[in-house]
Amino acid sequence: MIQGIPLEHFLIVSTIMFFIGVCGFIIRRNLITMLMAIELILNSVNINFVVFNRYLYPDQLQGQFFSLFVVGIAAAEASVAIALIINIYRNMKNIEVENVNEMKY
């Protein structure tokens, strides 16, 4: 065990973080906070990749690079999402997710 910390502990942390993100996505009332929850999720995934890379497969940097690209994509995603949120704001004058339900059933 590297530095005396078992792999599982990292994974537990990332898992909890992941599900906190999921939970946040489900319960938050605001589109931007939902976006933040997404960032939590992606972040936890990154931890996973990096930790697996470091602990189990340090012969290559696949995990690390994966996280790297995830970060990049997260940025792209966030930018588009924010543009869309602003678009919503322009159309509805607020960004409460509960109001975004014109189409249903």
């Binding site: 942390v13 939970c23 012969d59 290559q60 690209f69 602003i86 607020n94």
Partner: protein
Amino acid sequence: MNVLMFYLFSGIILIFSLLSITTRRILRAAVYLLFVLVATSGLYFMLKYQFMAAVQLTLYAGGIVVLIIFSILLTHHITHRFKHPNLTKLLMGIGATTVGIGLVITTILSHSFKAGTAPELPVDMTVIGNQLLSTGKNGYILPFELISILLLAAMIAAIVIAKKENNKNSEI
């Protein structure tokens, strides 16, 4: 020391994650998110992935969070406080989360991870740089190019959505 640091970072991550999704002030949520991201980069440092940690700090903490904060400022009054979450959704969220955490952690704990036997690759900038531009196996030039298309497209998408049109009189 490492152990201590790990639990410290973990504690920060978990606590501020939780706070970030529960606080009723949106700006605070953004700040808590920033803490989480910074603590995460701390973990990366601990794992000796400095490059990753740096990217995390600059791109994530520096880029995305700033973007978020900007958008918050665009769409909210600072003093705005949320209503409490909807009860059904709260229950849904907590339910899914509990089950999910239980399931995943059980699975992880029950799995016996086997470390690879191959020799460790030193993580320095040369290696990272070489791999990033390599065209062979474990080379990342193709994703690198691809993501550039993605970023271009995302940019165009963001612009086309967000840009103000001449004939329309919008609020922003």
